[in-house]
Structures are given as structure tokens and as C-alpha cells.
């Protein structure tokens, strides 16, 4: 195919596209809206997944955790471990480990004058927790713990309202020591935090690590070490070296194992967007095939004439495919612009508090943050171009195979 014939064909294709401009515009609109829907839905789904991942990893926290071997089966204080030392400490100090925190994490009960609730007590060292980003970001009242010797308690807003307690009041913290005897202490609520999930506010209470260790009588032992490298997708590359460094009786687990639901959800999500895009496109493709088939049907005589004048079938095929490519390209450009324009302003969050309770069950907050990813736009473009050309192949093929004499004698 020569350069000259290609330019003739592309000009012909472009002009043919606008011969019936009303039909072309309608088709263009259909493709644009289809593309917009693909990208918009993908952004919403990605936003939901990101949110679940964020919440999930914050609650874990960390991408890798080290426990005493029995802790995950029975998270009691008896299954505690000595803080990292020796080879493990060296391993934790070098990259890719960005930060780590040793924490006491035991089931406990918080009692006020009116009620008592089962909670997860986290004895934390605020400085190292801040480094792994696991602390509640939003302290609604009061302050967070100052250091690991802080003798105050920070509870969630929901828990505070359930217990009918408030900032500055005393509550009783009860748990069990390693001998199964009751360990309890009165503590003052020094801060009330707000989390994105009510379930989190209800479950986690924070106290100074040293203060909790003293209450439980466990010396400097901890329940878990949370490690982060700030990239949850890369965890499989570096956690084995931690696993090699821990001593006997300890267990190292990546988040994919700690929360297998999150892990499988993440891997399902990308496939799911593709399936969704293909489904949307299948609906669109009927319109596309119809448009092209009509264009061919209307121009049977014209195509016959071109063939009679010596245009090879390949150019006719190419011309019709180009026509459809123009249409798809324009539709894609329009759809992508539409998606950008509609998602950008929504990225600060969509309030979905009306259905908050249902969303909480999925681990989501009351705000949905759509996340526009280049890969989603690229994927929808690829789906539309590839499937679009495939769909237009049939009418174009039929046009190219027309017999010039029969075609010229066709009466409309």
C-alpha cells in the first residue's frame, strides 16, 4: 500500500464519517458515554479498594508482623515475646524496612460507671507508631499519648458515647496477666479519637506501652512487632529475610497472610474492572456494528465503482476500518475528557453516609474517594480500540468482498 493511496483512503474515511453527521454524532456520544462509564466505575471501584486497603493495613497495622508463634491463634498476654534484639533488630534497622513498632495488644475490658465494653488494648510507643502511621489521625478531643510511659488512655468517640464517659473522666481498664489473674487499673481518658470506621472507634483503645506492661506484669515483653516499608505491593520481596532473622518460636507473616480477604480482594479487583469494561463495550459494539453496516449498505454502488476503478479490496477494508477508528478515537477522547472532568471535582470525596452502615460491613468509611488511575484509562482505551476494530471487521470485510458488477447494478 503506497503512501499516496493511504492518504486518499484516510481522507475518504474522514469525509465519509461526516456524510451522515447526525448518525455519527449519536454514535460518538454513545461511545463517549460508554467510555466515561467504564472509567468512572473503575475509579469508584478503585477508590473503594484503596479505602479498604488503607483501613485494613492501618488496623493490622504494618505490612509484616512478627508474633510469638501461638499469638495469632490465641491473642492472650501469655503468648508474648521479647522485644526485637540481636539479628532481628539489625534486620529491622536497615532498608527496605522503613519503620517498625513493638506493641502490646491484648483483649481487655473498659468499664465506666454505666457500662463496660470489650476492647482491644494497644500498649504503644507513640513515636514509633507514628512512624508506621498506625495512630488515629484525628484526635477529636484532648491529646494523644505523649510517650510510652503516659498513664492516660485514648479511646474512640463511639466507645466514649457507649460508655457514657468523656474526656478527663476515669475509667477502669481490666485484663488478665500471664497467670490468668485479673490485672486492672483506673485510668483517665486523656484523648478521644475519631476514625473513619465506627467499628475501629469501638474496638481500639490506646495506652502507653510501659504503663500497660506494668499493669500486666510482663516486664518489657510485647505482643507484636509491626513492620512497614511503605509499599504493600512489594512485601513478598523483603519479608523472607525478616523471617530468616527471627529466633525460634516466633512467626513472621505478611499482610497477605494476616488478612487474606484483603489480599484476594486486591487481586480480584483489577480483573473485575476489565470484565466490567468488556461488558459495557459489548453493549456499545452492537451500535457500532450497526452504524458501520448501514454505512456500507448505503454505499454499495460507490464501493463497486471504486473497485471497478481499480481500488484493491485491502484499501476498501482499510478505509472502513479507518472510519471506525476515527469514530472510536473521537469517542475515546471525548469520554476520557468527560471522565476527567467529572472525577477530578469528586476526588475530595463523595458523601455516602446515607448508606454508611452497609458500607461499614465492607470496611469502608462514610466518604467514597474515587481514584482515577492512568491504568484504568489505558485499559478502557485498549478495550475500546481492540474490540471496536474487531467488531467493525465484519462489515468492512463484507464491503471488501463485494463483486464490482453486482455492486454497481444494485439499485437502492
Amino acid at each position: 500500500m503506497k503512501r499516496g493511496s493511504l492518504s486518499v483512503v484516510s481522507t475518504l474515511a474522514w469525509r465519509n464519517l461526516w456524510r451522515n453527521h447526525r448518525r455519527t454524532l449519536i454514535m460518538l456520544l454513545a461511545i463517549a458515554i460508554g467510555v466515561w462509564a467504564m472509567i468512572f466505575m473503575a475509579a469508584l471501584m478503585r477508590g473503594m479498594t484503596d479505602e479498604m486497603m488503607r483501613n485494613g493495613l492501618n488496623n493490622l497495622p504494618g505490612e509484616v508482623q512478627i508474633h510469638q508463634a501461638n499469638y495469632r491463634d490465641d491473642p492472650s498476654v501469655a503468648n508474648s515475646m521479647a522485644p526485637p534484639a540481636g539479628e532481628l533488630a539489625r534486620e529491622l534497622a536497615r532498608p527496605p524496612v522503613a519503620a517498625w513498632a513493638a506493641r502490646v495488644r491484648v483483649p481487655a475490658v473498659v468499664a465506666s460507671e454505666r457500662d463496660s465494653r470489650g476492647v482491644t488494648l494497644l500498649g504503644v510507643d507513640p513515636a514509633s507508631e507514628r512512624a508506621i502511621g498506625s495512630l488515629p489521625g484525628d484526635i477529636q478531643e484532648g491529646r494523644f499519648l505523649e510517650d510510652e510511659h503516659d498513664r492516660g488512655l485514648v479511646i474512640g468517640r463511639k466507645l466514649a458515647s457507649r460508655l457514657e464517659t468523656a474526656l478527663g473522666k476515669r475509667v477502669v481498664l481490666m485484663s488478665q496477666d500471664p497467670q490468668n489473674d485479673i490485672a486492672d487499673r483506673g485510668v483517665r481518658v486523656v484523648g478521644i479519637y475519631r476514625a473513619r470506621l465506627e467499628g475501629t472507634e469501638d474496638q481500639f483503645v490506646y495506652a502507653g506501652r510501659a504503663a500497660v506492661q506494668e499493669m500486666l506484669g510482663i516486664g518489657d515483653r510485647v505482643s507484636e512487632v509491626a513492620v512497614t516499608a511503605h509499599d504493600y505491593r512489594a512485601v513478598d520481596r523483603w519479608y523472607p529475610q525478616l523471617a530468616a532473622a527471627v529466633g525460634q518460636g516466633l512467626e513472621v507473616a505478611p499482610w497477605t497472610e494476616l488478612d487474606s480477604f484483603l489480599a484476594s480482594y486486591l487481586s480480584v479487583q483489577d480483573g473485575f474492572s476489565l470484565v466490567f469494561m468488556v461488558v459495557v463495550f459489548l453493549v456499545l459494539s452492537f451500535g457500532l456494528v450497526n452504524t458501520l453496516a448501514m454505512a456500507v449498505f448505503e454505499r454499495v454502488r460507490e464501493i463497486g465503482l471504486m473497485q471497478a476503478l481499480g481500488m484493491p479490496p485491502s484499501l476498501i477494508l482499510g478505509q472502513l476500518l479507518l472510519e471506525s477508528l476515527y469514530l472510536l478515537g473521537l469517542g475515546l477522547a471525548l469520554g476520557n475528557l468527560l471522565a476527567l472532568a467529572s472525577i477530578r471535582p469528586l476526588e475530595s470525596g463523595i458523601d455516602i453516609s446515607a448508606v454508611a452502615q452497609g458500607m461499614e460491613m465492607m470496611g469502608m468509611g462514610t466518604t467514597l474517594y474515587p481514584a482515577l488511575a492512568l491504568t484504568d484509562m489505558a485499559m478502557s482505551t485498549a478495550v475500546v480500540i481492540v474490540l471496536g476494530l474487531l467488531a467493525s471487521l465484519l462489515p468492512a470485510w463484507r464491503a471488501a468482498r463485494l463483486e464490482p458488477v453486482t455492486a454497481l447494478n444494485t439499485t437502492m
Binding site: P107, A108, V109, A111, S112, E113, R114, S116, G118, R151, T165, K169, R170, V171, V172, L173, M174, S175, Q176, N180, D181, I182, A183, D184, R185, G186, V187, R188
Partner: protein, 249 residues
């Protein structure tokens, strides 16, 4: 709470001087000192009252000092044999139906004891008030020829106590007439009251006490001491898990 009965009821007016110039600490300490080291053996009944139902249980209780208590339900038949043992603030229950001794975990210490208005904590740690609180004598009044001391007790900062304060009304014969539990906003939450004071086994005892929540006046639990013996000889193994499981008396 059988101990509360004793703590409440504990009586001992005769032996101790009636001290107009006693401090709050001394009043409580003297009452408790007297009561410590005592052994007792009592028949009681407990009436749990709710707006639409009530039920009654009979029980037998043994105490030794303020750290050891054993209670066994004797009636009605479906509860008979249930036992609670409390030693040094820990608590175990036994139910013949499952033939198991279960240690009451810390998570259940603030739940109610056998469906009553007493919590497990009230039952196993009721003498904590002596050293977990700061006491102050805030008033006195006369009642039926007795001097009554009003003592306000404020828990220490880190005491495992949820109350903002407790107010005790103690008669000069050391019968506790009232124990009020106030929250940290100075609202009265619940009150333990002596409804009847009687001489039993040579001492004045609050023979009927009632625990009631201020917010729900129709819900209360009444404990009636039917018969009590003090300073009795008790076998060594009385307050043990094996005795909780296999009663030998």
C-alpha cells in the same frame, strides 16, 4: 455481697469507744478491722425485683476475713448447687449442670452476679474501699438515738474503681446504713441501703439490704440475712476449688 451484708451490718458498737472525734479513716478502719479476721456462716435469701417479674434464691455463705468467700445456692431447685468462690479478688463459679469450675475472667467482672444488681466485682472486691480510697468525714446526724457519720470516699487516681466517689453512712454502732455510688459528674448512680437492722448472734446486723439504681427505681435486689453465726470454726479446705466442686460439709 454477703460480705457487703457483713461489712454493712457490722455492728460492733459495744466494744469500740463512741468516738466523736474519730477521723473518717479511723471510722472505716475500725469497722473493717473488726470485721477482718472474722469468720461467718450465714443463711440468706436474695430477691431480685424487676417491674414485671421477680425471683428469689436461697443461699448459704461462708466468709473468712475480707478476702475469702464461698456462696452456695440452696433453692430454687434449678439453681441449687451453683457456687461462687472468691479468694483474693479472683473469682470462680461452679455449676453442677456442667460439672465445671469456671474462673470468672476480667471481662466479666463488671457484669452482674447471678442476675442481681450486684456486679461480680461488688461481690469479690467489696472491701477494696479501705485502702483504695481517700476518706473524709463530711457530716454527722442523729437517728433513733444513734450518731451517724457521713463519710465521703474518693478513689485514688489509679484505683480500679469507676465511681467518682462513694458516700457511706455509718452508724456509731458501725452498722452501715447506706453506701452511695456517685459517678464522676456528681450524679448518684446506685445505692446500697440497710432496710432493717436486727440483733443476730449477739450483734447488730443490717439484716435486709437493698441495692437499687437511681435511674430505675423499680429494679432492685434485696438480700435478707435469715440466720448468721460469727466466729465459727471452719475447715481449712473450705475456700478451695476442690471444695467448690465437691462440697464437704
Amino acid at each position: 455481697m454477703w460480705k457487703s451484708v457483713l461489712a454493712l451490718g457490722l455492728m460492733l458498737c459495744a466494744t469500740l469507744g463512741r468516738g466523736e472525734d474519730l477521723t473518717a479513716d479511723e471510722i472505716i478502719r475500725k469497722a473493717m478491722d473488726h470485721y477482718r479476721g472474722q469468720t461467718s456462716n450465714a443463711e440468706m435469701s436474695m430477691l431480685i425485683h424487676r417491674p414485671d417479674w421477680q425471683r428469689e434464691m436461697s443461699m448459704h455463705a461462708w466468709t473468712e476475713g475480707d478476702k475469702r468467700t464461698l456462696v452456695r445456692v440452696t433453692a430454687p431447685a434449678k439453681d441449687a448447687g451453683n457456687g461462687t468462690l472468691s479468694v483474693d479478688g479472683n473469682m470462680w463459679t461452679y455449676s453442677p449442670k456442667i460439672n465445671r469450675v469456671v474462673k470468672v475472667p476480667s471481662s466479666m467482672m463488671s457484669q452482674n452476679w447471678m442476675g442481681s444488681d450486684f456486679s461480680n466485682k461488688d461481690v469479690s472486691k467489696d472491701t477494696d474501699i479501705i485502702d483504695q480510697y481517700d476518706h473524709e468525714l463530711v457530716g454527722q446526724y442523729e437517728e433513733q438515738g444513734h450518731q451517724v457519720y457521713v463519710i465521703q470516699s474518693i478513689p485514688h487516681e489509679e484505683a480500679a474503681v469507676v465511681w467518682g466517689k462513694e458516700v457511706l453512712h455509718i452508724r456509731d454502732d458501725w452498722v452501715m446504713l447506706q453506701q452511695q455510688f456517685w459517678d464522676q459528674e456528681d450524679r448518684l448512680v446506685k445505692t446500697l441501703r440497710a432496710l432493717e437492722i436486727k440483733e443476730m448472734d449477739g450483734r447488730n446486723v443490717a439484716s435486709v439490704i437493698r441495692m437499687g439504681k437511681e435511674e430505675a427505681p423499680e429494679e432492685w435486689t434485696e438480700v435478707r440475712t435469715l440466720q448468721v453465726d460469727f466466729d465459727v470454726d471452719q475447715p481449712e479446705n473450705l475456700f478451695t476449688l476442690s471444695n467448690l466442686r465437691n462440697p464437704r460439709e
